[in-house]
């Protein structure tokens, strides 16, 4: 068992210990039943009084009732602990996911992470519940029944003890194979879910390009492979149970043969033979359960390994050990010789940039020049591979993550909303409050007028990922969400691309007041958006190629001026045509 899983189990050691004790008690009680039967059979043969039989019958019922009572508590303790452990691991799993860095999620499929949280945890729950319960019960039962068999007749017991270990042999032989094949099945199951998830999420593309048949064909291949792997597993695992029954039946036949001779020879009584049979039957369920438990254990351990690969992945971005927690950040940002690479592919090189607190900085540059990457270094979605990013003169890697991110309002390029009410989404980053800040933010982002038109207003539920809103509404909702946090640093990553020019103008106008006292970074392609900034930074191929104000850059006649000219050129042509009319 993995050390981590053991830790969870030990956390419930009281429940397990009580469970063991109850299991012992229940075993002790149940081995008396065959003994009662023996007394009855021998009594009948000896011609005892019927009163004795009635007494034995009553004892039989009494023992069963007490045993039942104990078994109830035993199950509740052991299986309950299993469920609680599932609960704990699931909580820890989610907590760990929340600590993992952005890059992790970009390289792991959502469907796969979900399968672990649901299916694998279910298997683990069975391992630490039913699995542990029956493992120990089997040991107790085996010891108790085995010992009693020896007290009845050692040679007869020896016969049983020679045959039964074959059961273990079958497990070892089949178990390893079952385990391997089961993992292959699980793997294919993950592929299937991931593929389905992708198809459903991208259904618009599938339909727009009439890819339905191609998709179905792909599913067919994955599905068939899944079926074949499952059948391979069935061929192996299907043998387990029948093999158990065969071995146990063999033992019964041997006992009947040997025991019959012993009774005739007068070594044991018929009652003792019946008692012996009783023990053999008692062993049969635990023995069969052993096969089942072996599978549960195998599957559970495999699942635990899958969970552990996640729990063991270290968050690349974590709270520093001795973090600095400033009262309030001023919002001064500095990039000091920053370089960055995704998996060894350089994206940013030698970036040096100083942004005074309260300044408004625009970042422009061609697609893929590294704008998004640059700004995501500030809230530490990624850490630079070289150099340092400083906020208020402190390396962000030394700042407490909560303090750092708490003072940043970032509007990502792609809008993501939760399937909550609009209100819930806008207040996402706000602790407490009466909602006035949210309303104000919605005003600033020019979302409020449209919300007023919704029948449910702020209580409107947006669909998963905000699908029921238009692109512009979504973007404005994400802007409002960031504003509602009242951040010291505001970052807009191409956040106005889906709104029309008039709305953009209105938003910028409303934002101006907001940005006057805060540091703001705005990424945009529209000159109209960036021209008013205190500083315009032009990125090209991961480097800063120019910086300055709109006028300075225009005058310097570089890349920015070039962009500007291109945007203007057509207008100029059109305008000339217009004025010539």
């Amino acid at each position: 068992m993995s050390r981590r899983l053991l830790g969870y189990v030990l956390g419930h050691r009281r429940a397990y210990l009580i469970g063991f004790a109850l299991s012992l008690l229940s075993t002790g009680l149940s081995v008396t039943n065959p003994w009662v039967l023996r007394l009855a059979v021998d009594g009948i043969r000896a011609g005892a009084a019927p009163r004795l039989l009635v007494g034995l019958a009553a004892a039989y019922v009494g023992i069963a009732l007490t045993g039942g009572f104990i078994r109830y508590h035993w199950r509740m303790k052991m299986l309950g602990a299993g469920r609680r452990i599932e609960y704990e691991i699931r909580n820890d799993y989610f907590a760990h996911l929340q600590r993992l860095h952005q890059a992790f999620f970009q390289h792991t499929r959502t469907g796969d992470l979900m399968a672990r949280a649901i299916n694998d945890l279910n298997t683990i729950s069975r391992l630490v519940g039913v699995g542990i319960m029956h493992s120990f019960n089997t040991i107790f039962m085996f010891t108790a029944a085995g010992t009693l068999m020896f007290t009845i007749d050692p040679p007869l017991a020896l016969v049983v003890m020679v045959i039964l270990p074959m059961v273990s042999l079958v497990f070892v032989l089949l178990g390893r194979r079952i385990h391997r094949q089961y993992e292959q099945v699980q793997e294919q199951f993950s592929t299937l879910s991931a593929r389905a998830q992708e198809n459903f999420s991208g259904i618009r593309v599938v339909k727009a390009f009439a890819q339905e048949s191609a998709e179905i064909a792909t599913f067919g291949v994955i599905n068939r492979e899944y079926m074949e792997r499952s059948l391979r597993l069935a061929r192996t695992s299907g043998a387990l149970w029948p093999a158990m029954t065969l071995i146990l039946g063999g033992a019964a036949a041997a006992v009947l043969w040997q025991g019959g001779h012993a009774v005739v020879a007068g070594r044991i009584t018929l009652g003792q033979l019946v008692q012996f049979f009783g023990y053999l039957m008692m062993l049969s369920w635990p023995m069969i359960a052993l096969g089942w438990v072996a599978t549960i254990v195998q599957q559970g351990l495999a699942s635990m390994r899958r969970i552990e690969t996640i729990l063991d992945s270290r968050p690349a971005i974590a709270e520093p050990p001795e973090s600095v927690r400033p009262e309030r950040l001023r919002g001064e940002i500095e990039f000091r010789d920053v370089s960055f690479a995704y998996n060894g592919v350089p994206v940013l090189r030698g970036i040096n940039l100083r942004i005074p607190g309260g300044a408004t900085v625009a970042i422009v540059g061609p697609t893929g020049s590294g704008k998004t990457t640059l700004v995501s270094l500030i809230p530490r979605l990624f850490d630079p591979t070289g150099g340092a990013v400083l906020v208020d003169g402190i390396d962000v890697r030394r700042l407490s993550l909560a303090a750092l991110r708490g003072s940043i309002g970032l509007v990502p390029q792609e809008s993501f909303l939760f399937s909550d009410t609009l209100e819930g989404n806008l207040a996402f980053g706000v602790e407490g409050g009466d909602g006035s800040r949210v309303r104000e933010a919605a005003e600033t982002a020019r979302l409020a007028p449209e919300v007023a038109g919704f029948p449910m207003g702020y209580q409107t539920v947006v669909g998963e990922r905000g699908v029921t809103l238009s692109g512009g509404q979504k973007q404005r909702a994400t802007i409002a969400r960031a504003l509602a946090r009242d951040p010291e640093i505001l970052i807009l990553d191409d956040a106005l691309s889906s709104v029309d020019t008039r709305t953009e103008e209105e938003i910028l106008h409303a934002l101006r007041r907001f940005m006057a006292t805060r540091t703001s970074l705005i990424i945009s392609h529209r000159i109209s958006t960036v021209r008013g900034a205190d500083l315009i930074v032009v990125l090209g191929d991961g480097r800063i190629v120019e910086q300055g104000t709109h006028d300075v850059l225009l005058a310097s006649g570089g890349l920015y001026a070039d962009l500007y000219q291109k945007q203007l050129l057509k207008e100029a042509l059109e305008a000339d045509e217009d004025s010539s009319q």
Partner: protein, 600 residues
């Protein structure tokens, strides 16, 4: 949190004849295998019931009288029965696994095929996580039912009946006395079933909520972290998880009560045999061997009963799952092809809207998204839609591509109502590039080609070059063969748009090209390159462009200004400018810079 949105539908009764009949439809193609399995099962049951009977013969005929010759033959017969049972049971298990897996394969394919036909509107209403559960876990539950549920329940029943028959045959009086406990057991089991069912439903519903929560939060983890919501999301998750735990404990309790109670009742039956049977044996009316055999049969009698209760859970699960599956299979295809759909090898590319009223909601009164929209786009014409966000531009596209159908009026392509077309065929003529780019796991080349195997690598490359995507693709390690991570998270927004654009070009729609804000994330340089490409593609093609940057659309033949779901203005760039309406305002806002320069 909108629980209503995530609530997994509550489920019906455990056994429902209608559902069962429909389920059995999936087994029907394999009925020969099932029949064989049933025969094997009957034989297995018979073989496994001989044990106590053999014990009785051994005791009464050989051990009690002390006559050992012949005992060997009896035991050999027993071993023979055991071996037969082994082979039969293995064969039967494997047969059923085959049937289960094949039925599951069929059902899964049917479901996926149906899902591909459901409308886009359907997908906006369903959380993706829920649909994934349908095609994975729900179908799995069905397999369990076939392999472990139905056949095993049948096997248990056969065993029960077999034991009763043997007991009656051995001694009917003692048999009846033993079965005195039966009514109590039946009553108790019925009660247990009701409780177990409730507990089971609760578990399912809560698990579905956890699923939906996880799906959403894993996708939006970046937002959670940026907004420092970890602690609160953790609390919400733990709450959902706790509800699931509570439901699990309730289910546990019902089973923890059930097993001991059945055990106690079985003890009562054995006690009756000891007291009553024992008295008979003392009186010499029956043999000791018979009493022993009775005890052994009685103990076996309760195993299938306990088993049945567990199997009931599987049945319950399968019924619940199949009800959800069938509901999904019965989900009407809102956007359906007509019986004899129109197919065309080529289209001219004429598009017409005739008095179209459209709303996303089924009760639209207040929520019309398009109001009485009529226009006509001639073959080869290029048209732009402009207007504020939420004006209804994308919705118009949704109607042309028939992602949705209008409530009133009609949309015509080449003079025929799109509702008369074969949808897939219609869309094959349309190249659609959307603002939200969706990329699939696979290489960049796969993403451009999608599943259209007739597109060669050469064509993929040409398309990429055409839209100027080749430059950046070739710089990525691996180039066209580079793997795209989930949803293209390692590419920049503009790069994704270029790929989507290349995808549309590679599929070479002959006539219609529709760009819905497809260049909003592209920098001016790239946009100019795309424009240049567009100029070439748009020749001889009907094209529709939606863009906020007016520079993107200046060269189109005609501009339609959409305002609050209506067509407010229409004309060429110059006509609209001279009209001094909405367009003029939009234009001036965007080009103030330029005007400033003119002023100075």
């Amino acid at each position: 949190m909108s629980t209503a949105f995530h609530e997994d539908e509550i489920i019906g009764a455990a056994y429902d004849a209608r559902l069962m009949r429909r389920l059995m439809g999936y087994v029907r193609p394999y009925r020969a295998a099932v029949a064989l399995a049933v025969v094997l099962l009957l034989l297995t049951s018979a073989a496994s019931l001989v044990g106590p009977y053999i014990v009785r013969i051994a005791i009464d005929d050989h051990i009690t009288p002390g006559r050992l010759e012949g005992l060997g033959v009896v035991i050999l017969a027993y071993l023979g029965a055991l071996t037969a049972a082994f082979v039969l049971r293995y064969a039967q298990t494997y047969m059923m696994a085959r049937v289960g897996q094949h039925a599951m394969y069929d059902l899964r394919m049917e479901l996926l095929t149906h899902l591909q036909r459901l409308s886009v509107g359907f997908y906006t209403r369903q959380p993706v996580g829920r649909l994934v559960t349908r095609v994975t876990n729900d179908i799995e539950a069905l397999n369990e039912m076939i392999t472990q549920g139905v056949v095993a329940i049948f096997g248990d029943l056969v065993t029960l009946v077999g034991i009763v028959a043997i007991l009656l045959y051995l001694d009917w009086r003692l048999a009846l006395a033993t079965m005195l406990v039966l009514p109590a057991i039946i009553l108790f089991t019925a009660r247990f079933r009701a409780v177990a069912r409730e507990a089971y439903r609760a578990i399912r519903v809560r698990l579905a909520r956890i699923n939906a929560f996880l799906n959403e939060h894993i996708m939006g983890m970046g937002i959670v972290q940026l907004f420092g919501r970890e602690a609160r999301e953790q609390a919400r998750f733990e709450e959902l998880n706790r509800e699931h735990l509570v439901a699990g404990m309730a289910s546990l309790r019902s089973f923890a009560v059930f097993h001991p109670v059945v055990g106690a009742m079985s003890a009562v039956a054995v006690a009756i045999i000891i007291a009553y049977g024992g008295a008979q044996a003392l009186a010499g009316t029956i043999s000791v061997g018979l009493v022993v055999a009775f005890v052994q049969y009685a103990q076996r009698f309760f195993e299938p009963i306990e088993d049945l209760a567990e199997k009931y859970n599987i049945l319950q699960a399968a019924m619940a799952s199949s009800e959800r599956l069938f509901r999904l299979l019965d989900e009407p295809i809102e956007v359906e092809d007509p019986p004899a759909p129109l197919r065309a090898d080529r289209v001219r590319g004429e598009i017409e809207f005739r008095n179209v009223w459209f709303a996303y909601e089924s009760v639209p009164e207040h929520d019309w998204v398009l109001r009485d929209v009529s226009f006509r786009i001639l073959p080869g014409e290029s048209v732009a839609f402009v207007g504020h966000t939420g004006a209804g531009k994308s919705s118009i596209i949704n109607l042309i591509t028939r992602f949705y159908d209008p409530q009133q009026g009609c949309v015509l392509v080449d003079g025929s109502d799109v509702r008369g077309w074969d949808q897939r065929d219609l869309r094959r003529h349309i190249g659609l590039v959307l603002q939200d780019v969706f990329l699939f796991a696979g290489t960049i080349e796969d993403n451009i080609r999608l599943g259209t195997s007739s597109i060669t690598s050469e064509q993929v490359r040409r398309a990429a070059e055409f839209v100027n995507a080749a430059r950046f693709i070739e710089r990525i390690p691996g180039g066209y063969q580079a793997q795209v991570q989930e949803r293209g998270s390692t590419l920049s927004g503009g790069q994704k748009q270029l790929i989507a654009f290349a995808r549309a070009i590679a599929h070479n729609p002959e006539v219609l090209l529709v760009l819905d804000e497809a260049t909003s994330s592209v920098d001016t340089d790239t946009e100019i390159l795309i424009q240049d490409a567009l100029g070439r593609v748009m020749q001889n093609r009907t094209s529709i462009i939606i863009a906020h940057r007016l520079s993107t659309i200046q060269h189109v033949d005609r501009i339609l200004v959409i305002h609050k779901g209506r067509i407010a203005e229409e004309g060429t760039h110059r006509e609209l400018l001279s009209r001094g309406g909405i367009y003029t305002k939009l234009y001036h806002l965007q080009y103030r810079d330029q005007e400033l320069r003119h002023d100075t």
